[in-house]
Structure formats: structure tokens, C-alpha cells
């Protein structure tokens, strides 16, 4: 049966990257506990629009936890208080009547705020462009079963490849490090036979690009993996460190 709650929202509003931002508070009543968190924000925006005010801008798209677009920092946690899910998968039944909910954008030097809760994550694309691929052109690939890969290796590679590129790891890290993101991609290819040819070059190039883009250093606090909505394991970072050192020895 449908239940509703009333909530107080404390939301970060900011016009642009160079402009100062501030928290604004909003009262929102009769929110169905079956609604998703983003549907709750839709309700708020509808009310703001009815008053002629500009809606709160937040990135979102698939609303089923896979596109990686939604990126809200809720009550001190990237993607909110529930582990292993994205913001769009969070439901209002996780909150109580009368709760105050604080909503902020990802905060990191490498992710400048565009408007309100929307940030620019272009730096992630740039890191991938540095080497997050196998250099094979379309056409001419050998038969897919020509190269057996053990189920175990394929499964671990899949766990690394699960990263949705949302940036929660960076937002969670006190240093704003992108190590979990970079290591997930480096790991996927380091594990698979397809990635061997460019293994060293890839680790070097992606780490170099990451450093150039203003991300912080990793101090192994593990906050990234704890807050990752896809539970990408911390062991990826250990693997990246090994890959990077091995690559350095090859220089």
C-alpha cells in the first residue's frame, strides 16, 4: 500500500563553474515511498517550475543504474546511503518522514561544476582515449572461439569491466584520485589475452593522462571501492600498481 513522507531538502545551487554556489532548502511533502530518489527531484522541479523558478539541474538518463550519468552526493555519500547502487536506483522508502536530505554535486578539482548538481566528467573520456582499448581495426578479427579464455579469468575481467564511469570513486576519495576508474580498465585488458600486446604501453599512457588531468594521488584509503555503485574491487588498484611498475622496468 502506498505510503508518503515529507522531507526537507538541502540542495547545492550553483550557476556555473566560476560562480559561487550555496545551499538552498526546500520542503517537499507527500512523496510516495515507492518513488525513486530522482522521481522525488522531478516532483520538486515540477513545483519550482510552477512557481516560475528554474529547476535543479542534475545529470540522469537511463534511470536503471547502468549509464553512469546520475551523480548525486547524498548525505555525505556518493549515490546516497545504500551500498552498491546508483542514485537513480535509490528509493524514497530508504528515508523517514521528516528527514533532512543534503544533496551536493561530485566535488573534485578534475570535475568542475557545470550547473547545480551537474559536473563535467570529460576528464574520464580523456583518460580512456589515452589507451583504454585494444588497437584492432574493424574486420579481420579471428574466430571468436579461436582463443579460449578460462571462465575464471573472463569473470574477473568482467567484474573490472563493470565500471560505469560515474565518478563516484573520485567523489568519495579525499584526494580526488581516479585510481579505481583507471585500474578497472587497465585490469580488464591486463587479464585478457587480447590486451597483452599493448599491456605496458596502456598502463603508462593511462596513468600519465590521469596525472595530467588534475586527479589526486591514491593513498589506499579504500573509500572508492566502498562507495562504488558497481562494487568494483580494490584489488584492481593493486593490479594497476603492479602493471605500472612492470611497465616502468621495461623502459
Amino acid at each position: 500500500m502506498e505510503k508518503t513522507i515529507n522531507v526537507n531538502l538541502k540542495i547545492w545551487r550553483q550557476r556555473g563553474p566560476k560562480e559561487p554556489g550555496q545551499f538552498k532548502t526546500y520542503q517537499l511533502d507527500k512523496v510516495s515511498t515507492d518513488s525513486s530518489f530522482l522521481e522525488m527531484l522531478d516532483m520538486l522541479n515540477q513545483q519550482l517550475v510552477e512557481k516560475g523558478e528554474e529547476p535543479v539541474v542534475f545529470d540522469n538518463d537511463c534511470r536503471e543504474g547502468i549509464c553512469g550519468m546520475c551523480s548525486l552526493y547524498i548525505n555525505g555519500h556518493p549515490h546516497g546511503p545504500v551500498q552498491g547502487i546508483t542514485t537513480c536506483q535509490l528509493h524514497m522508502r530508504k528515508f523517514k518522514d521528516g528527514d533532512t536530505i543534503t544533496i551536493e554535486p561530485w566535488r573534485s578539482a578534475a570535475f568542475p561544476v557545470i550547473r547545480d548538481l551537474t559536473v563535467d566528467r570529460n576528464a574520464f573520456d580523456k583518460i580512456q582515449q589515452a589507451g583504454g582499448y585494444t588497437s584492432v581495426n574493424c574486420g579481420g578479427a579471428p574466430d571468436a572461439n579461436a582463443m579460449p579464455i578460462s571462465k575464471e579469468v573472463a569473470d574477473i575481467a568482467m567484474d573490472s569491466a563493470t565500471c560505469i564511469g560515474c565518478g563516484a570513486c573520485v567523489a568519495a576519495c579525499k584526494n580526488g584520485s581516479a585510481m579505481l576508474f583507471v585500474s578497472a580498465k587497465v585490469s580488464q585488458f591486463a587479464l585478457l589475452p587480447q590486451g597483452q600486446v599493448e599491456r605496458a604501453r596502456r598502463a603508462r599512457a593511462m596513468v600519465k593522462r590521469m596525472d595530467e588531468l588534475g586527479f589526486g594521488n591514491c593513498t589506499n584509503t579504500g573509500a572508492c571501492a566502498a562507495e562504488c555503485p558497481k562494487n568494483v574491487p580494490l584489488s584492481n588498484i593493486a593490479r594497476l600498481n603492479r602493471e605500472f611498475i612492470k611497465a616502468k622496468f621495461q623502459d
Binding site: 515507492d34 529547476p55 545529470d59 589515452a130 582499448y133 574486420g139 572461439n145 569473470d155 585478457l192 587480447q194
Partner: protein, 667 residues
């Protein structure tokens, strides 16, 4: 909705439309037996030499499976590619949400699969409303897709021996679906995105994010550029090229509630339509049978539960109406209904395919039971029960196969599917119809191509599961990069275009005027409010079961929604600034046009086929009654101006390799 509407004027307007058709449609299907057409085509098509490729510019709009694979492959070949997406990164395109898998005719399972069988299943699954030659080519290149993706490092599921694993999907009797957990779309898209990134790094592809196409620019009858709105700054920008490729996805959000992402839209198709590209088979919209039912008014989207669940889940409703009523009233639990009082209606009606019958059939059967009063939940839901699979396989095996989907279900519905059956209901999911293209994937405008879901080409009246990913990648990796060269080969002497041409001035002025108009309505309703109203009209009257009356009524209601839009829309904020309300309003305006065309197409097609079920055309046992005599053609609609009737052209469909028959999933 209860208003009495006089249907006569609308009927008079649309009933005699066919008589207008005169032009013959040239689909450029190559000569020869179906199995040799693509080979012959490739052997004789014109190519562009490497030195000339770098002098040719190509715009690709969209970065889903089709867009990203086309942009990267054209870049690898040496063309200059400009690639656009509305999201913050190419990796977010909605292809990413596909869960189940991708089909290919590898026959790795030794279960009798072949290119011909995949071709046959797809044509039959599409209820004989797709083009044989295109579908055969699709089946032919399906195997290359798997090879290419594995070479990219896509971590497909594997068996203990290290070889690739497969599973079954609806409409097939073989296991030909390759998958990566429940995230196949994501992994394939990330594969294409990685190839795209490689080309961006090399400089052959320039990537433009957070840009939305608002018009296509035609110069001397050829597509030569696009006008886009920068979604961060609100600036209107111009881009020129020798050819334009649309890879902009489907129009399923015309129903407002759908499994599509919030940003999915049919706008590029409507822009092309207004400039002369035909729209085809718009009535063919896929309603996916296994989605989580609607919970309330504030809902923004529906979540799909993968079709793979139908491998082991059994679908049922109570046999007795009083049980259904008791469940709806909360007085009974589904687990209290004994087996003999459960109606496994798919197994009952379709013994040969059972719970794995095609999507259109499964969706309609669910609606039929709910309409008859046997629905559970709000009345619009049926059960998908894993009790039997857990008894047969054990909970661990079920958890291993579907664990992540079960978790997702529990998160949304707050029910534990290990203990109580899931509730599911059909929802708008995919659009088989779209922009008309010929065999070369070129639209009726020269130099304008359409690939992936936004074209109409391969799925006929119904798409089989795991075939959308196949088509997107087939078009982008293996078809378009070839066929485009046939067009571009005589463009090599055409110098790089600039955006100074008067046609660009005009197109930009039109876009600005359109935005101005919407900003100045200054009414009281937000785009979402009007979109919800549109969605209700479409779902109730142009949804799973349509009738002559409902469609006539729909056209009248759509006119009302349109009036409300142009008189009472409110867009807050400014035009030359980041403005999410303006983005929604522009897309909604195009959905209004698209919805009207969907209703017209459904109204004109006096038959039932695939996903298009006109209730007055059904067999005695409630199956779709096709009318091959009169409707075995692709409808091609040409735009004639804002308040003018569109013209219908017909592309006849010929079946040479497959004998046309009534679809049978019973025996």
C-alpha cells in the same frame, strides 16, 4: 477521454490515403539469390581510395552501438568524422541498458543453427513485414560482430573449457545469444566506445558531447550538415560535412512511460521527415512483456526485467476470478494459490514455445488476461514465478543465473522474488518503425543515412530478443562503412563545406524562430505535464490493442494535446543558456508530430501483424490476422507541410527465399 468524438471527418481525411501513392520506391536491393546479394554488392560497389578519404567529412549523430561503431570504423578507414551525442560522454547512450544479449549464427552449441536459420527466425519473428535482403545480410554479418567484439576485449560469458557460452531467447529454438552477465549492451557499447576513443586520440574522429541536433541542412538536394544546440551554453552551432549519418535511436518515449532512457527521443527522425525523408512502419512499436508494473502518478520510467528470465520463470495468473480479486484486495497471497488454480496461459496457448514465445505475443496475452479481469497487483500485472525453477535447480543455481536481476527487482518493488513471484507487465520498449532507408541504409534524402534503431529496416513488425544489439553493430561496423562509399565515391571532387552557405543561415534562423516561439508561449504547463498527457493518449489508444475507433479518437485527442502545447506550455529559464526545460519542450514538440504519424500509420494498416494488433483483425483464437494481399508492404510517409496530409508510398515486400506463412508458435 469519454467525450463523444465524431469520427467522420478524420476518417474521410485518412481513409483514402493510399490512392495518393504514385511514386515507386527504389530500395536498391541487389540482384541474385538472397545468400549472394551482399557478397555481390561488395564485389561491385564503388570504393574511395585512401588519399581521397581524408578529404571527406562525415557527421555521425549518436554514439550508441550503431553510432559509435560507425564513427569509429569510418575513422579507422581514414574519413574525417564528427560525432555528436546529447549526454556528457559517448559511453552513456541507451544501448548501454540492454541486458540480455546479442544473437549470432555461430552454431557453437551444435544445435542446428545457421545463417539461414537466424535469417528465417528473424523474418518469421517480424511477421513477414521486413525486407528479406536486409535480414539475410544481418544474419550473415552477425558472426563477424562476435569476432570483432572478442578482439576488442569484450568479456563475454564463457564455459569452463574457455569457449563462449550461449543462452536462449524468445522466438528461437536454438541457443545463439552471447552475453556478458546481465550487462551485454554495456559491454558491447564500451567495446565500440573504446574503438571510438582510439580514433578520437588519433584525430580521425572529433567528439562533440552535450550537443543536440535540431535540424539537418540540405544543399542542392543533399544532406550537407546539421544545426545543433550546445546544451551547456545554449548556443546554436553549425557543422558541415559531405554526408550525415543519423544513429539517434527510437521514439518509444512517445508513450512517456517506457523502458527508454529519459533523454531518448525521436527528434532527429522528425527533422529528417520535415526535410523530405520518409518515415516507415511507425505503427510497429514493441511493447516488452517483462517490465516492472507502474506504481503511481509520479513515475518517470519503467524498468525492464531481462527476457532471459523467461528461460526459467513461469508466467501465470489465477484461474479463478475470485482469486484474482482477493489478491488485488490484499486478502490473498500468490503463494496461497495451488498449482491447479494457476493459469499458465502462455504454456496453455503456445505449447511449442511456451514462456519463450516472441515478445508481441507474450505482451498481448498478458493484456488479454488482465483485460478479462485476471490481473494481479493493480490489475495490470501478471506473475513471473521462479518457484518451479528453484525446486528444479535449487536456489543457488537460480541466484547464479539471475541474482543481479532479482536484486534489481527487489530494490524497486520491495518484494523478494525468491519467496514470492515477480509481478510484470508490458511496457513500451523498442520501435521497429523509423526512418525509411534503402539497402545501402540511405534515406530518401541523398547523403543522409540512418542506422540502428532509428531506421525501420530489419525487424519487420516485431523484433526478437537480442537482435537490437546485433542490428546496431551490424549497421555500424559492417554495413554502413561499405555502402556509404558507394555514395561518397562521386563526392571526392567536392571540397570541404563551410557553414557560410545561405542554407545554413536559413536552417539556423528556423531553429532560432522555433525556440523563440516555444519560449514565448508563457503558459502554465511544464513539458513533462503535457508529455504525460500525450503518453496516456498513446498508451490507451495507440498501445497494445488498437481499433479503428481508438485510433480515430487518438487523432482527435492528439490534436487537443497539440493545442494545449502551443497555447499553455511554460518553459522557464532562458534560451541561450543551459535549460533542461527547453530541451524537454523541443523533444516533446517532435513527439507530438511522431505520435500523430504513429496513429495515422496504425489507422491505415487494416490488419494485425506482429506488434501492430488491430483488435478487429484477429483469428477465432485471438491471434493476429494478417492481410498479405493488401498490406505486404512497407509504408513510407512523406511530409507535405505542417497542416497537410502526408503522402503514403508503398515499398512492396517480396519473399523469395522464405515461404510466407502464418506465424505459429503453438506446435
Amino acid at each position: 477521454m469519454d467525450k463523444m468524438i465524431d469520427s467522420t471527418p478524420i476518417m474521410k481525411d485518412y481513409a483514402d490515403m493510399e490512392s495518393v501513392a504514385t511514386t515507386t520506391i527504389d530500395s536498391k536491393i541487389p540482384e541474385g539469390p538472397v545468400a549472394e546479394k551482399w557478397t555481390n554488392y561488395k564485389a561491385h560497389q564503388k570504393l574511395v581510395n585512401p588519399a581521397n578519404k581524408r578529404n571527406l567529412d562525415i557527421i555521425v549523430v549518436g554514439t550508441g552501438l550503431a553510432g559509435a561503431s560507425a564513427a569509429s570504423t569510418l575513422g579507422e578507414m581514414g574519413f574525417n568524422v564528427l560525432n555528436f551525442c546529447i549526454q556528457d560522454s559517448p559511453r552513456r547512450a541507451h544501448s548501454i541498458a540492454a541486458q540480455g544479449g546479442v544473437n549470432a549464427a555461430k552454431n557453437y552449441q551444435n544445435d542446428g543453427d545457421s545463417i539461414y536459420r537466424l535469417f528465417y527466425d528473424t523474418v518469421k519473428g517480424g511477421d513477414f513485414r521486413s525486407r528479406e535482403a536486409n535480414v539475410y545480410r544481418l544474419a550473415e554479418v552477425s558472426n563477424n560482430i562476435i569476432d570483432q567484439c572478442v578482439a576488442q576485449g569484450v568479456p563475454f560469458a564463457r564455459e569452463y573449457g574457455g569457449l563462449l557460452a550461449n543462452r536462449s531467447f524468445g522466438g528461437a529454438q536454438v541457443s545463439r545469444t552471447f552475453y556478458a552477465k546481465g550487462q551485454t549492451g554495456q559491454q558491447l557499447l564500451l567495446g565500440a566506445y573504446s574503438s571510438l576513443n582510439r580514433q578520437i586520440e588519433k584525430g580521425t574522429v572529433k567528439s562533440f558531447n552535450r550537443r543536440e541536433m535540431l535540424d539537418v541542412v540540405i544543399i542542392d538536394g543533399r544532406a550537407r550538415g546539421i544545426i545543433v544546440r550546445n546544451l551547456v551554453t545554449g548556443e546554436i552551432e553549425r557543422y558541415a560535412a559531405h554526408a550525415v549519418v543519423l544513429a539517434t535511436g527510437g521514439y518509444g518515449r512517445a508513450f512517456f512511460l517506457s523502458t527508454n532512457a529519459m533523454g531518448c527521443n525521436g527528434s532527429a527522425a522528425i527533422q529528417a521527415f520535415r526535410k523530405g525523408a520518409y518515415l516507415s512502419n511507425l505503427a510497429f512499436t514493441q511493447i516488452h512483456p517483462t517490465c516492472i508494473p507502474v506504481h503511481g502518478e509520479d513515475q518517470s520510467k519503467l524498468t525492464l526485467m531481462s527476457e532471459s528470465l523467461r528461460n526459467d520463470g513461469r508466467i501465470w495468473v489465477p484461474k479463478k476470478k475470485e482469486d484474482a480479486e482477493a489478491i488485488r484486495a490484499g486478502k490473498k497471497k500468490p503463494t496461497e494459490i495451488p498449482d491447479e488454480d494457476r493459469d499458465f496461459y502462455l504454456e496453455r496457448r503456445y505449447p511449442a514455445f511456451g514462456n519463450l514465445c516472441p515478445r508481441d505475443i507474450a505482451s498481448r496475452a498478458a493484456k488479454e488476461r488482465c483485460d478479462a479481469g485476471y490481473g494481479v497487483g493493480t490489475g495490470n500485472a501478471v506473475y513471473l514465478d521462479f518457484k518451479y525453477a528453484i525446486e528444479r535447480l535449487g536456489e543457488d543455481v537460480v541466484r547464479d543465473r539471475y541474482g543481479n536481476l532479482f536484486e534489481m527487482y527487489e530494490m524497486i518493488s520491495d518484494d523478494n522474488p525468491y519467496e514470492t513471484p515477480m509481478m510484470i507487465f508490458p511496457a513500451s520498449h523498442y520501435t521497429m518503425g523509423g526512418i525509411w532507408v534503402d539497402y545501402e541504409l540511405q534515406t530518401s534524402i541523398k547523403g543522409l543515412f540512418a542506422i540502428g534503431e532509428c531506421n525501420f529496416s530489419d525487424h519487420g513488425a516485431n523484433r526478437l530478443g537480442a537482435s537490437a544489439l546485433m542490428q546496431g553493430l551490424a549497421d555500424g561496423y559492417f554495413v554502413l562503412p561499405y555502402t556509404m562509399q558507394n555514395y561518397l565515391s562521386d563526392q571526392i571532387k567536392v571540397p570541404h563545406f563551410t557553414t557560410d552557405a545561405p542554407e545554413f543561415d536559413q536552417a539556423e534562423a528556423d531553429v532560432r524562430a522555433r525556440i523563440e516561439k516555444l519560449m514565448n508561449i508563457k503558459g502554465t504547463k511544464s513539458p513533462d505535464e503535457i508529455h504525460k498527457r500525450l503518453g496516456r493518449v498513446m498508451w490507451d489508444l495507440v498501445g497494445m490493442g488498437r481499433t479503428l475507433d481508438s485510433l480515430v479518437k487518438a487523432l482527435a485527442e492528439l490534436e487537443e494535446v497539440r493545442k494545449e502545447f502551443y497555447s499553455d506550455l511554460r518553459v522557464v529559464g532562458k534560451a541561450d543558456d543551459l535549460n533542461t526545460e527547453l530541451e524537454k519542450a523541443l523533444r516533446l514538440e517532435d513527439f507530438l508530430e511522431m505520435s500523430k504519424m504513429m496513429a495515422i500509420d496504425a489507422l491505415h494498416r487494416n490488419e494485425s501483424c506482429g506488434a501492430h494488433f488491430r483488435e478487429e483483425y484477429q483469428t477465432a483464437d485471438g491471434e493476429a490476422a494478417r492481410n498479405d494481399e493488401e498490406y505486404m508492404y512497407v509504408s513510407c510517409w512523406k511530409y507535405n507541410g505542417e497542416n497537410e496530409k502526408p503522402t503514403l508510398y508503398k515499398e512492396p515486400l517480396k519473399y523469395e527465399a522464405i515461404e510466407v506463412q502464418t506465424r505459429n508458435y503453438k506446435s
